[in-house]
């Protein structure tokens, strides 16, 4: 996703002189391609994330479309109040790009994990929260964001995610994308768990359970109409995310269900309320927290069995 992001941004920056890239000293082996082509529209502010956000707001106030890129906790949590005021309240055209969704930086430790960002970004009025499920959605959303008014947050994975969208389908910020059809169970994913969700659907299909898979690539504005259309089918709904189950996709879907007339079988798959003290890569830590194909498939089977 990182590479797709920067390649897309470089392409757009060739066409649009308003695009500016701000980094707080992160981006080695990723951002050079932008820096070298657009030296007057690239700024490394040093290890100073609060400054990066405020400077981006200042740049936006002079007509630029600044993208601020760094590892997720450092671009969301460290400068949160700058985001709240200089970006959201002042409604500046700043694009905040966090890399390393969930446990992407697994062995780096919990300082580098990001399991709270959707919750704390989607609470901000006027913030658009984009959580691409694959590189194609990264490309489409970056392109769509250029002429989008107001602040945007991107939650990117890291590297090596497969393309799961049908590249001929249409993409629109704020509209959920159906990745796979199925009429027994609905799986809804946001961000980097789209691949796991597709694998869960595959595993369940071998048990004759047909799952739809949805990429909720925009967490705000949230596609409530789409969720309501799933509810009307009266089928079980499961949300899957590499984020705390508090405040993320599961919470957002729960809110829609709670205010609807439907009461489907429903469960949030995500990370329970604890920090990781495990040491290991993303897949290793995912296993520890139950974010993997086997555990989720098994739990869904058990829930469906109980329901009968």
């Amino acid at each position: 996703m990182r590479k797709t992001f920067i390649d897309t941004l470089v392409k757009e920056a060739k066409k649009d002189e308003r695009i500016f890239l701000v980094c707080p000293d992160i981006g080695y082996s990723v951002l050079e391609v932008f820096r070298d082509q657009f030296p007057n529209r690239f700024l490394n502010v040093g290890v100073a994330e609060q400054n990066a956000i405020s400077i981006a707001a200042g740049l936006a106030l002079t007509g630029y479309i600044p993208f601020v890129y760094t590892i997720m906790p450092f671009v969301v949590m460290r400068p949160f109040e700058q985001i709240r005021i200089d970006v959201a309240y002042m409604n500046t055209n700043v694009r905040i790009v966090g890399v390393g969704a969930g446990f992407s930086y697994g062995a780096a430790g919990a300082t580098h994990h990001s399991l709270e960002d959707i919750a704390i970004m989607r609470v901000l009025p006027g913030m658009t929260v984009i959580c691409p499920g694959d590189p194609w959605e990264v490309q489409q959303s970056v392109k769509a964001s250029i002429n989008y008014k107001g602040p945007v947050y991107f939650r990117l994975g890291k590297q090596g995610e497969p393309i799961l969208n049908d590249k001929t389908s249409s993409y629109q910020i704020g509209k959920a994308t159906l990745i796979r059809n199925g009429d027994h169970v609905h799986l809804i994913s946001t961000s980097n768990t789209l691949e796991i969700s597709c694998k869960v659907a595959e595993a369940l299909s071998s048990q004759n359970i047909n799952c739809s898979v949805t990429s909720m690539h925009t967490m705000k504005p949230f596609d409530v109409n789409y969720i309501n259309s799933l509810l009307e089918t009266c089928k079980p709904i499961f949300t899957i995310e590499e984020h705390y189950i508090v405040g993320g996709l599961g919470s957002a879907v729960s809110e829609v269900i709670a205010e609807s007339k439907f009461n489907p079988l429903f469960k949030r798959f995500g990370v329970n309320d604890q920090f990781s003290h495990y040491v290991g890569g993303q897949d290793f830590i995912r296993d520890k927290f139950g974010i993997n194909t086997e555990i989720i498939t098994q739990e869904i089977l058990e829930l469906l069995k109980k329901e009968k």
Binding site: S54, G58, L61, T62, D86
Partner: protein, 265 residues
């Protein structure tokens, strides 16, 4: 001209006192210490046009110490950005002008402010943007002395000279009193000039109530970012408010308002 500016400062001070009296708002002292600075900026120095407040070539001014918003609103009204009638809509129910700055509230407001430590970094971003696009446009930011306690102020103080932002000026309203005590007793800023010089700023110390010194400092050209340490008096101009911590919070009642307005005659 100088005589005019002095009469403008009196008019702005009257507006501030009446606004704070009417709304029972805090920060009278914090407003009164920046009146000469704002007057010189808006009536002498800044390239701005109240009839075209979004002119792309304009200079940008940020009042980072947003708690002195009444002083900025009064100055903008005095300069003709909006009617003085709107000043009665400060900090009251169904008002227009909030206690801390909402940039959508009225014309001429370049930036929100109220949480300390944001304005200089935003100004730094504006200066970078303008240097690329409008090289003649300048950015001026007023911060408070207590605001120098914020770590986020020192990030742009470190960066601006590195980027040679000769279009950026920070004015420190050094009124020596902050929210809960004497500034240098809360956290000692001194030696402040030496600190800023060490960070590679050009530093000018002035009497922040002396119009000639303010204008000279603003006009001084140098090929690096400029810091003007404006030595000011909290509550300046009203004898019973000067240098009093309590006037960081109090607003004048009817009797004190009348007394204060008399002193401005």
């Amino acid at each position: 001209m100088m005589h005019d500016l002095i009469s403008i400062t009196k008019s702005i001070r009257k507006s501030i006192l009446m606004m704070n009296h009417q709304s029972n708002a805090s920060h009278s002292g914090s407003c009164l210490s920046v009146v000469e600075l704002l007057t010189c900026l808006y009536f002498e120095f800044l390239n701005i046009d109240p009839k075209n407040p979004k002119d792309e070539n304009r200079d940008r001014f940020i009042l980072s110490k947003g708690h002195a918003s009444a002083a900025l609103y009064a100055t903008l009204a005095e300069r003709g950005f909006f009617s003085k009638n709107i000043l009665a809509k400060f900090y009251v129910d169904n008002g227009i002008l909030p206690g801390h700055i909402d940039m959508t509230a009225a014309p001429g407001l370049e930036c929100a402010a109220g949480s300390l430590g944001h304005g200089l970094a935003i100004g730094c971003g504006m200066a970078i943007g303008l240097k690329n696009k409008k090289p003649s446009a300048k950015v001026i930011v007023i911060i408070s002395d207590g605001e120098l306690n914020e770590g986020s102020i020192w990030e742009p103080i470190l960066l601006a000279p590195h980027l040679h932002l000769n279009n950026l000026t920070v004015v420190i309203d050094y009124n020596k009193i902050q929210s809960f005590g004497i500034t240098n007793e809360v956290v000692n800023l001194e030696p402040l000039t030496e600190k800023l010089v060490a960070f590679n700023w050009h530093v000018i110390n002035i009497d922040g109530h002396n119009i000639e010194q303010i204008i000279d400092a603003l006009n001084f050209k140098i090929d690096k970012p400029k810091a003007i340490i404006a030595n000011t008096i909290k509550g300046k101009g009203i004898s019973f408010m000067e240098n009093k911590l309590e006037w960081h919070y109090r607003s004048p009642n009817k009797e004190l308002l009348e007394k204060a307005l008399e002193e401005l005659e």
